[in-house]
């Protein structure tokens, strides 16, 4: 048993490490992906390109504009004086927002009347639009509060401290709501899934394609020795990639890791059961590496979409939410994010770990049962 397994492993490692393309996929691609996600995926809203549509041009309107700029969320890039210009700028994506103040804006304020402030948003990115609207509302509210205060003072009264309620939101675990801290750890899950599922299935199918499988089948090697020989290298490579991405995340992007690394590797081992199980299953239904690749992406895309990696599961329709419980990636991403950002341990994460163990056990045993030492 051990001797056959040993020579399978020696052979697999020689094959994986001798091929320069393979080395690139195994070790450069994960780092590259992490860097891309670290820099490119940024849902933080700052310095939104904004057009000012000031028909009043009074002291008050200029002051409010200054408040918008001062907040740091808005960056005035254009001044316009016609509706059609606003439309064009938004159509062309030159600005994401336009702030409109009508003639008589200043006069109304001076007279102590309330007056509308209009904000026009590019709603095609609904997420950003929502956040911008929220900021704009806060700025406007603060400005009217100031105006009231000034008015009371000017009338000679003592500003009454009205018992207003101010919302002070504070996001725990990710104090500045940095999207990087949220996304970079989860890249681990995607990379580990792609590398292990895709490459393990291709490693088996390649032997069918080049004809060496036929030669292996006529040897007395046992099914388990073959399967272990094909999967153990990818378990090790999966662990190595987790370590590699963690290094980049922590030392390059300064993403905090608050929990236990050991737990991270433990969860990875549980996740690999599903991932390699799928890989093995794909290898039983594919005759060529190209087929294997297509089938692997057939699993990988839905798994990613329904994992909560980019789209929050709470926003999905209930039926789809139920579906995500069958997705091992969902549990793995929750575990990774929790270990990184919250620093929680098994006491909190055991349901997810149990989910991974059950799914992994089912998928892997199904795939192993389907795997036969014959061609057909």
């Amino acid at each position: 048993m051990l001797e056959r397994l040993k020579c399978m492993l020696v052979k697999e490692f020689i094959q994986a490490l001798r091929d320069p393309r393979m080395r690139f996929i195994l070790f450069v691609l994960p780092v590259f992906q992490t860097v891309v996600f670290g820099y490119a995926v940024n849902t933080d809203v700052r310095q939104v390109a904004t057009a000012i549509y000031d028909l009043d041009n009074s002291q008050e309107s200029r002051e409010l504009t200054a408040q918008f700029v001062k907040s740091g969320y808005f960056k005035v890039t254009e001044y316009v004086d016609r509706d059609s210009q606003v439309r064009e700028l938004i159509d062309r994506g030159k600005v994401k927002a336009a702030i409109r103040m009508d003639r008589g804006f200043g006069a109304a304020i001076r007279a102590g009347r309330s007056t509308p402030l209009q904000i026009i948003l590019d709603g095609s990115d609904s997420n950003t639009a929502g956040i911008v609207l929220n900021y704009a509302g806060k700025i406007a509210a603060r400005y009217s509060e100031q105006l009231q205060l000034q008015q009371v003072t000017r009338k000679g009264g003592i500003p009454m401290r009205t018992g207003g309620v101010e919302l002070q939101s504070r996001a725990w675990f990710n104090d500045n709501l940095e999207s990087r801290n949220f996304y970079v750890p989860a890249v681990i899950a995607n990379i580990v899934m792609i590398i292990t599922m895709l490459l393990s299935s291709m490693a088996v199918v390649r032997e069918k394609e080049i004809g060496t499988m036929e030669q292996i089948i006529v040897t007395p090697i046992r099914k388990f020795e073959f399967i272990l020989g094909k999967t153990i290298p990818f378990v090790l490579i999966g662990f190595l990639d987790v370590a590699l991405i963690t290094l980049v995340a922590v030392f390059w992007f300064e993403v905090p890791i608050r929990g236990s690394l050991l737990l991270l590797f433990g969860a990875t081992a549980l996740f690999l059961m599903s991932s390699l199980g799928f890989g093995l299953f794909i290898s039983t239904i594919s005759q060529t590496q190209q087929q294997a690749m297509m089938s692997a992406f057939f699993f990988i895309f839905p798994a990613m979409l329904l994992s909560g990696f980019a789209f929050p599961i709470e926003n999905m329709p209930p039926a789809v939410q139920w579906l995500t419980y069958a997705n091992p990636l969902r549990y793995y991403i929750v575990i990774i994010r929790s270990i990184y950002l919250k620093g929680v341990g098994v006491a909190v994460l055991w349901p997810q770990m149990l989910g991974l163990a059950i799914l992994g056990g089912v998928i892997l045993s199904f795939a192993v049962r389907r795997f036969h030492k014959t061609l057909s």
Binding site: V10, E214, Q215, V218
Partner: protein
Amino acid sequence: MELATDTHNGFAVTLRNLEKRFGDFVAVNRVNLDVRKGEIFGFLGPNGAGKSTTIRMLCGILEPTAGSGTVAGFDITRQAEEIKKHIGYMSQRFSLYEDLTVAENIDFYSGIYRIPAARKNARKEWVIEMAGLTEHRNSRTAILSGGWKQRLALGCAILHEPPIIFLDEPTSGVDPISRRNFWDLIYQLAGEGVTVFVTTHYMDEAEYCDRLGLIYRGELIALGTPGELKSRFMAEEVIEVLCDQPQEALEPIEQLAEVKHAALFGRGLHVVAERADDAIPAITARLKELNLPVNRIEQILPSLEDVFVSQIESHDRKEAPQREVAS
């Protein structure tokens, strides 16, 4: 280890009504065959006849659809894994790892076959020596020439010294000298008592075999030693006609009532007839009429190729009416 039940009766391979279907297509059709121990058994047939499919069933790569068989005394459906310990197999395609070196390939297979540590090195050196790869032991297999690859593949298939080896077109695409060397190896193995089951397209190789089976469209249509096939399976007689323009002579000869069929053969024609004594005068007369001078005309012993062409044609003649009715 399970006990082999009938190795002592002297047969390395026995097949009873072995059948393989792929969907509706019958690739191997109820084949019966016994191969004696220590024999070089040649399996001949045109492309797509079912040679590889049969060998694959014997080696436990494919499961038969029906019928039964034994290899080294083990049942091919129930004891395939036991069979694998006692056979060597060389597939039709080169099937070693091209990204591994010669030595790495040998090490891999000797590990998989669990060759005892004491013998490992000797076997490795033997294979390298036999394949003539001493200088290339650390070269990647991909760069080796066809003849070297074939000998290395044979070496890896017999590292564990199996008593039965299956070779599927081992010499296709190899130059004549390498083919000759390869057959020397096969003789050497057979001399040591190894049973060799080999498929081929080459008639000269067929002559080297102790016994031959001819498979056509999945059916075994002739079986015997090369000598037996030439005398027994050839009901007709063969006439060799050497003339200056054999292409032009072909059609007029085929139209003669005394002739069954004719084919170009080297620089002349081989004519198959019921009785040579009747056909020779008829051919001579016809060619004289046409002004095609005959250099030589005589009855000859049929070659294996004559036997196979004739067998295949008579098989087609038998099948054709049935197929017309069926369709």
